[in-house]
Amino acid sequence: MTFRSIALAAVLVLAGGAAFAQGGKVTVVTSFSKDVTDPLKKAFEKATPGTTLEVQNRNTNAGVKFVEETKANNQVDLFWASAPDAFEVLKAKKLLAPYKPKATGIAEKVGSYPVNDKDGFYVGFAASGYGIMWNERYVKANKLPTPKEWQDLAQAPYFDHVSISAPSRSGTTHLTIETILQGEGWAKGWRTIKEIAGNLRQVTDRSFGVPENVNSGQVGYGIVIDFFAFSSQGAGFPVKFVYPSVTTLVPANIGVIANAPNKAGAEAFIEFLLSPAGQEALLEPTIRRLPVRPETYAKAPADYPNPFKDKNLQGLLTFDAGLSEKRNEAVDVLFDQLVTFQLEPLKAATKSLHELDAALAKKDNAQARALAKEARDLIAAMPITDTEAASPEIRQAFTGGKQKTARQAELEQQWAAFAKEKYTAAKAKADEGLKLAR
């Protein structure tokens, strides 16, 4: 039995032993897919003969953990990913080395976000915008509307058809949530988020889970980053995409790891990404990121979005990165406790409200209308204010500092209980209104 396989294994050991040792190797840990890294790797290796780019593909979280756990004997030169918050974590743990790129002609800002880290620890090389993607067959079969704005997703027809990834699991979703909160203010922003969340079919734990489900027709609409939709179209899936008029542009970044074994090579790769050739490579159909070098757009296809020209990509607010960082964990945990793990009661209340609205549209009733408003306010209620979210007491509950007043687990339990109670009460109000309105 096993002898056969042991023999096989022995042969294979002999065959596959020597695969190490080459000069000029640049090792990069990235969350970007092969479609993105392969063309850039080829172009880079061609531009700098004698250098090879070793790509280690890991999702953002695993990548951060990997760099953290291996710091004692670091073998990685670069960290390359979308989510700025991952870079913030690496920076806070002193795992990045500062580097100021020499390239000129790079924009300071794309949309409302600064391209580079203010402390110089990581560099933006491209941007992407958030929007709504949908499956045309699904939408047609269920006779659903075509969305244009975020608010559309909160309307009754979209109930149970929308998908998003959790901000705690996806840095880019986190930025979208944070942008809504900064744009509309804490209270109103959360109201909008929860109104959309009431229509969610699912909250996925991977960013790619959303386009995957839209592509296979398991959900109708997904809140996704643009290149997911474009590359899905490229692969032939019957999907469409729209940027809402207020969209968020998020930078994709790269940073040099502290104590990189091949620092010079790492810096050469960053310079390559920012060079005209590197920026043009971003226009390729499988990559489709927005370059940070404005002149590159002259070479882009006709319908290519241009954040330096297009009105809807200019961004209406100045993004406050400091504020975002202060309440980073609070916002993630709030979303998880109020939406992800309370989706059932939230959806039940939302469903009743949609029914009540429909009944009121047929026959108005002032008392029922008041109940609907009460129910909406209950759903929108927040356990903490924005000042509290950024306060040292709450922040240190997540980091384990001395000023905390409760442990993270205690806060989570309080917030979850708060949400559950409010959603249940909201459903009761809506049901009461529904009786009156009928």
Binding site: D205, A235, P238, F341
Partner: protein
């Protein structure tokens, strides 16, 4: 543990003690220490270093965790029921009756265990999802849909299909080991049909069933992939996974849950030993001695084939989906793909041969380690009186519950600082991937070896020793040949599941040339254009494993027959 079996006297046990020590050291180095470097966080308060149990109190006071705990218990228990319903008929019919194609049924029935990560999920959604093939057809012709993949029941459905082979393999091995004269005696006394199965065959095969069922229970309890694919997060293992792998949320609760998972696994293993305690399952004569397999009458065999085909159709549906997906151009919101193509295979075969070689190498090495360790541990526990021997058993069993990502992080933490002479970190060597996989899959081989040994009567060994054979000669010439069926079952299970292991691998892979197939699959599945190629790679993985299984079964059958035993 079969108490009626008298352990052999202890006087010649120096060799056994040394063996136990070596295994203990191995487990300590590659399981206990790496896991401890990660999990100790559960016993400290965040920010402060001191020992505390307050996190466990928080666990009990958090509704979400308590709810997740009961959900996990419910899902695991129900999965055991459903898996048994799938496995019992297949195992009984193919081992105790004249059933043409029994070998094929056994091999096919094993395939569900090899579900490639990610792409298997997509295939399942396309078949059974809300807008999958089945529901689209139901909706069109009958006007309703069935929520196969909704909520906890969806998880049970998926898990039962996925894990029932654990019961099938172990129970079949046990049924084959029963002395046929037992059944004959019962038949002569007028027992037949279900009663014969209930009163004679099943009780004698109980060690195999319990081995399989306990594996299913623990595995489902600790599984992350299936619940998350259905977006069910309110179960314990997904909660641990989400917390441990979210960046920035550096919270002890994830590790607290990991400790709870490990505890549940150990308790389950202990409980399954209790079920078998005080009874003797050993028969002195092996399966070859009795009458040939029983024939089925005409009506019976029609029924039997219908049942077997129905079960196979259900449990192999995901693989059919996978196959379709690998040939599909675009498949979206339609019962069948829009068109078919070979392009995905062309793309995969071009650049994936290194993944395939690595997978074969890693899985066979890991499975060989597992069978050796599992067999040795089972022998030490059941046949010696070494103090603390059951610690080995529980330690190895606990490996089942260690989340893959925890093991991966533990390996990095424990071995990355250790430098080889040329400066490469120890953890960067591919052999570490093999060890991590071996540790993760050890419980499978261990359960199988355990069940096999429980069915061997100790009097055979005593006879050998009375005739002057040394202990090691007895083990070599008597115990190991008699255990071959069980060890083979263990090897096959470890090998096949090792081939699709991802979570620990993802942490440990350092460069593409060392990556196994599951990593290649993961990379492909992150892009829309990689879906078909991922499915093609998944199909290749399944075929490789199936071929290897078939070959090893053939080889084992031949060596068994050469020894005059009938497998």
């Amino acid at each position: 543990m079969a108490i009626a079996v008298t352990p052999l006297p202890t006087h010649r046990s120096t060799g056994a003690a040394l063996l136990a020590l070596a295994i203990g050291l191995f487990l300590a180095a590659f399981l206990v220490v790496p896991v401890a470097t990660v999990v100790y966080v559960a016993f400290t308060e965040k920010g402060g270093g001191g020992f505390t149990l307050v996190n466990f109190l928080d666990f009990a006071r958090t509704d979400l965790f308590v709810r997740s705990f009961w959900n996990s218990i419910y899902v695991s228990a129900m999965t055991v029921l459903w898996s048994s319903a799938f496995a019992l008929p297949l195992a009984y019919l193919t081992t105790r009756f004249e059933f043409r194609g029994a070998g094929l049924v056994q091999t096919l029935g094993f395939l569900p265990l090899i579900m490639p990560p990610f792409v298997g999920a997509v295939a399942m959604q396309l078949l059974f999802g809300r807008n999958g093939t089945v529901n689209l057809l139901l909706d069109e012709y009958l006007g309703f849909k069935i929520g196969f993949m909704e909520g906890l029941n969806g998880v049970i459905f998926l898990q039962a299909i996925h894990y029932f082979p654990f019961i099938l393999v172990n129970l079949s091995a046990a049924l084959r080991n029963i002395d046929r004269s037992m059944e004959e005696a019962a038949q002569n006394l007028g027992s037949h049909g279900l009663r014969l199965f209930r009163r004679i065959a099943f009780p004698l095969a109980l060690p195999g069933y319990v081995a399989g069922a306990s594996l299913v229970f623990v595995k489902v309890f600790d599984d992350v992939a299936s619940p998350l694919l259905l977006n069910v997060k309110e179960m314990l293992a997904p909660q641990a996974y989400l917390r441990i792998t979210s960046i920035g949320i550096d919270d002890p609760m994830g590790y607290v849950i990991a400790v709870v998972l490990i505890a549940i696994a150990v308790v389950t293993m202990w409980g399954s030993a209790q079920v078998l305690k005080g009874k003797d399952y050993a028969t002195t004569q092996r399966g070859g001695g009795g009458l040939a397999r029983r024939p089925l009458t005409g009506r019976q065999s029609v029924l039997a084939y219908a049942l077997v085909l129905l079960i196979l159709a259900l449990v192999l549906a995901p693989h059919v989906g996978l196959l379709l997906l690998s040939f599909a151009t675009v498949w979206s919101f339609s019962p069948l793909p829009d068109g078919f193509t070979l392009a995905h295979y062309a793309r995969v075969l071009g650049d994936s041969s290194v993944y395939i070689t690595n997978t074969l190498l890693y899985s066979s090495l890991a499975a060989a380690i597992d069978v050796a360790l599992g067999g040795a541990i089972a022998y030490l526990v059941l046949r010696t009186r070494l103090p603390g021997r059951s610690m080995l058993d529980w330690g190895a069993g606990a490996a089942l519950a260690v989340p893959g990502v925890v093991l991966g992080i533990g390996y990095l933490r424990a071995f990355y600082g250790v430098k080889l002479p040329d400066g490469t970190p120890l953890a960067a060597l591919w052999i570490m991937i093999v060890l991590a996989i071996a540790i993760r899959r050890l419980p499978y081989a261990l359960r199988a070896a355990y069940a096999a040994l429980q069915q061997i009567s100790v009097s055979l060994e005593e006879a050998a020793e009375n005739l002057g054979a040394t202990r090691s000669r007895t083990v070599r010439r008597i115990v190991i040949p008699l255990m071959t069926g069980g060890l083979l079952a263990g090897f096959v299970t470890s090998f096949a599941t090792a081939a699709v292991e991802l979570s620990a691998v993802l942490m440990l892979v350092q460069n593409n040339s060392d990556a196994p197939l599951s990593y290649g699959l993961y990379v492909l599945m992150q892009t829309p254009a990689g879906r078909g190629a991922g499915a093609a790679l998944g199909v290749i993985a399944v075929i490789i494993v199936a071929v290897c299984m078939g070959l090893s079964q053939l080889a084992a059958g031949r060596s068994q027959r050469a020894r005059g035993l009938d497998l």
